[in-house]
């Protein structure tokens, strides 16, 4: 059910993404050095990841298994035979002078990942051309402000396992691209493949974009493809693509230059300025002289191995959403909100819903109370002090009519801040269930004191009774509005006859 977003523009924006994610291993792809982020420079290096003379690589099994898991989650075919190749280029963060990557026989290809906008704006199945396993480079640090002539090289990151995921140009708007990236990140985090932390560089995105412009003669004109780099958040990906589409439209109107009339251009996203700038490309830099890595042996993967990885793989977000909708009869919107918060929050919700025995109410409390306060105070749902049983207790008392929902919210907030039990809080707030006798006495006083309202009600305007409820709550904050209303109406009816 692919639907193109209805855009005002006289063109379609065509986007393909290239994503690099670091795999969650303890050690690097080819050596035993730790992959911990943020250690002092050059403290996690050895002869192999420094590319010292005579050093050799040996493949990390865990990295390969995680890579297969990622590929399966992206519905890719797993190759029965795969090998590694050297991608040769000179750069100081690449100490061997080549990157061990995969060229003609990646371990997986031909997959897809669907992204559905919960509000129904779009639904897109994005093809995955290939996923391959390669090593990361180190970091180059250049501080112009310090006016340093030299660039500092830290090789702690060099050799960290990376999955490169290349999508088909199937995305049709910057919004779709951002949503798809969110879905991809959610998937990889759910499956424990990567923490996808963009700030720490464990997820990096490059985008290829151009415009398809219908011509009067029915032909589709295509603008030259531009690759955008240095986008350090999904938001900047969306902004960069939006800017670039507009820029290409301007350029098209001015030049009418079409795809194939010039070499592929690379532009860098300048976030503060909110624009993309051309990046200088060395003419021979694209000649990577790939050839089979002679220091590694090929890898074969059997059906059984694939099945085993698939079995060990958890439920992906898309599946989980439908499961929640069907099990707890909640809306697609609700399931989307819950699932997008991660596995632990979903677990919290399922526990709560089970205790309450009802999904919609549980989902409302999750979104209006649990999630809201969680976002306010920050932290992990796992450490959230108010556990599902407590929330279920409050919801239960509301259902019993001990107090109304707004009171329930106050109690939830108090339990959270004071850390005391629901029991205590209810007591300290003087919330005791009002007895039927007290209620009747209270209502009789109100009826006596409000002849006008009584008359209106008798005149058929039952909603006038609302006035009485308000007064009743002033006299005794613990009364249940519904009960007050019912009792008053009964008493007034009795007055009549």
């Amino acid at each position: 059910m692919a639907s193109t977003p209805t855009t005002a523009e006289p063109y379609t924006t065509v986007i393909g993404l290239e994503v690099h994610v670091q795999l969650q291993t303890q050690t690097k792809l080819f050596c035993g050095c730790s992959t911990t982020f943020g250690s002092p420079p050059n403290t996690q290096v050895c002869p192999t990841c420094l590319g010292l003379p005579g050093s050799l690589p040996v493949m990390n099994r865990r990295a390969f298994d995680l890579a297969i898991r990622a590929a399966l989650a992206l519905n890719c075919k797993i190759a029965s035979f795969t090998k590694w190749d050297r991608k040769n280029y000179f750069y100081p963060d690449l100490p061997k002078g080549y990157q061990i990557s995969q060229f003609d026989l990646p371990f997986s290809s031909d997959g897809h990942l669907e992204v559905v906008d919960p509000k129904g704006a779009f639904s897109r199945r994005v093809g995955i051309i290939r996923v391959h396993l390669e090593e990361d480079a180190g970091k180059s640090m250049h501080d112009e402000s310090a006016g340093l002539a030299d660039t500092r090289i830290d090789l702690n990151r060099a050799g960290t396992p990376l999955c490169e995921i290349v999508s088909q140009p199937d995305l049709r708007s910057p919004q779709e691209a951002r949503a798809w990236l969110n879905e991809l990140k959610l998937l990889l985090v759910y499956l424990g493949v990567s923490d996808c932390n963009m700030q720490e560089g464990s997820l990096r995105v490059d985008a290829n974009v151009n415009l398809h412009i219908p011509q009067p003669d029915g032909r589709i004109a295509k603008t030259p493809i531009v690759e955008i780099k240095n986008m350090n958040s999904f938001r900047s990906v969306e902004r960069a693509l939006t800017y670039e589409a507009a820029r290409q439209w301007e350029e098209w109107q001015a030049t009418k230059l079409e795809l194939g009339t010039m070499p592929k251009q690379t532009r860098g996203w300048d976030d503060p300025a909110g624009i993309t700038r051309p990046q200088r490309q060395k003419e021979e830099s694209s000649d990577y002289r790939y050839f089979p890595e002679p220091d590694l042996v090929p890898v074969t993967v059997s059906e059984e191995q694939v099945a085993a990885v698939r079995a060990a793989m958890g439920e992906p977000p898309a599946v989980l959403r439908t499961t929640l909708e069907e099990t707890w009869k909640i809306s697609a919107y609700d399931s989307d909100v819950l699932v997008n918060q991660g596995r632990d929050l979903v677990a919290y919700f399922e526990e709560l819903a089970t205790l309450v025995g009802e999904g919609k109410v549980a989902s409302n409390w999750m979104q209006q109370d649990v999630l809201r306060t969680l976002n306010e105070r920050g932290g992990m749902i796992g450490e959230f002090p108010v556990r599902p049983a407590v929330v279920a207790d409050i919801i239960g008392r509301i259902a019993k009519g001990d107090f109304d929902t707004s009171r329930g919210r106050e109690i939830f907030a108090e339990v959270l801040s004071s850390g005391r039990s629901v029991e205590d809080v209810v007591a300290s707030m003087g919330i005791a269930a009002v007895s039927d006798d007290d209620l009747i006495t209270l209502c009789q006083e109100l009826i006596a004191a409000n002849p006008k309202i009584v008359a209106d009600v008798q005149g058929g305007k039952e909603q006038a009774a609302a006035g009485l409820i308000g007064q009743a709550k002033k006299k005794n904050p613990n009364v249940n509005p519904g009960k007050v209303r019912q009792t008053c109406l009964d008493l007034i009816r009795q007055l009549k006859d």
């Binding site: 290239e18 035993g32 050059n42 002869p47 100081p92 090289i153």
Partner: protein, 100 residues
């Protein structure tokens, strides 16, 4: 089989080798004759032959994901032409190669 001086210069820049003019001249003639010599392989019809990149038939060699001690920063930097005690120092470059 000969290679142009210009072509040799392009290869030298790809290989990051600064060659003096006379070196470039000599390299052009020598590469030409060597390439001519190796081109005798063209005599063989290999259309049906699978390439053999490696003499071993071994496959699936892995290591466990277990941390091993790294070098000390001092050891890592001990042979660096320029370093500041923490990092290797090289002439100015902007940005990572990003392992694209």
């Amino acid at each position: 089989m000969s290679i142009s001086r210009q072509e040799v210069a392009k290869v030298a820049s790809l290989a990051r080798l600064a060659l003096a003019d006379d070196e470039l001249d000599l390299m052009t003639s020598q590469l030409g004759s060597i390439v001519g010599f190796v081109s005798q392989l063209e005599e063989l019809d290999t259309a049906a032959v699978e390439p053999l990149a490696h003499p071993l038939d071994a496959k699936n060699v892995f290591r466990d994901d277990v941390v091993k001690p790294s070098l000390s920063t001092a050891e890592a930097l001990q042979s660096a032409p320029r370093q500041d005690g923490e990092c290797f120092l090289v002439p100015a470059v902007l940005g990572d190669s990003g392992a694209a």
